[in-house]
Amino acid sequence: MSGLLGNPKILTVIVVFAVLLVLGLAGGALGNAFGGGFLGAPLPHIQLAAEPVLADEVLPGWKLTNTMLATWLTILVLATLAFFATRRMSEVPSGLQNLFEVLIDFFLNLAESVAGKEKARRFFPLVMTIFIFIVASNWLGILPGFGTIGRFEPAYEVIHHAEDKAKKKGEEVNLDTVKLAVFEGEGAVTVQGFGSVGDEMTGADYEHMAEEDRPRAGLLVPFLRSANTDINTTLAIALVAMAMIHFWALRALGVFGHVGKFINVRQGPIWLFVGLLEAISEIARIISFTFRLFGNIFAGEVLLFAMAFLLPLIGIMPFLGLELFVGLIQAFIFAMLTLVFAATATVAHDEGH
């Protein structure tokens, strides 16, 4: 132990870490109770549905949401990478081309070991696309700037939305539950600055203040939010995957062979029931595809928000590593399950027994 502490490099690392920890403790939400809180920001407004980036509708009945922007950004990043990887192809790959070849080679081998040589080539493009898209959007989603820079939504709009939502349920709006944050500065683009951890108020406080005393309160609507925290994105990928699985199965087994798995009248009532269960499990697959990815990434986002709120600087670092891992594993699971489902769906029922 004394040998470790004697090493100046290790000693420096430990001291820096301890200083960061103390700064984080004092500067975060915990320190705020004792007069600190110079680093923290209030816990962001956590919302299930994606927020619109522009307040107005772009097309009638259609708003541009922040997860949609993040999806486009992912596509742009992937397209750029693919362009530069394949621009100057050479027999002996190097650089980006090499990286992509290693990635594709690894997955092609994996797919061939699961589905067999000939089928793997057929399933591979979709499986690989799903993997690359999900992993890219998950990793982009934890970059700084996602969820922190955004549009300022003024308090009257927030209260108006809360009233609309309550009216739909047939209730009166409870302004005590409407949380607002106080912002400094001017302009439509805003961030929540250091030390703003205590600058919170409720809608009721705001309404009771005199017009001229009111601070610049409202909510931050981020411009970008990780694409898979929107249930529509994950549902879309799941639907595409399941539609393609059924398409491949129809092509491999024919209409009667494939549909006969679900509506089976020839072998008696038990098999009819088994077919029904198979049909239900197909729907359950779509649901679990959707919610597995959505749940993991959304929960990760909330976890990062909470840690940045409690322990800024240091608390978030191990969880960023965790999110990198979860993003990769979830993409892998999505792609592998698609592959396995496709491989089992293209095999006729009798062959398996």
Partner: protein, 74 residues
């Protein structure tokens, strides 16, 4: 959902819903480790199938999470 009862419900939903999948994933991993110890050459397929099976077990926890999220935020 209104008030504190909804919060308790959301906590219970994910808390109770996590027990089963937690046990299941633990059992899965234990068996996978055991078979790894018996047959170290089969590490690749064992790992793949373990991850897939864990994904199925985890799906149950995700259903609980969805219920909790719906109670809390919708």
């Amino acid at each position: 959902m209104e008030g504190d009862i909804g919060n308790i419900g959301a906590g219970l939903a994910i808390g109770l819903g996590g027990i089963g999948p937690g046990l299941g994933i633990g059992l899965l991993a234990a068996k996978a480790m055991e078979s790894l110890g018996r047959n170290p050459e089969a590490a690749g397929p064992i790992q793949q199938n373990m991850i897939l099976a864990i994904a199925f077990a985890e799906a149950i926890a995700i259903y609980a999470l969805v219920v909790a999220v719906i109670i809390k935020f919708v």
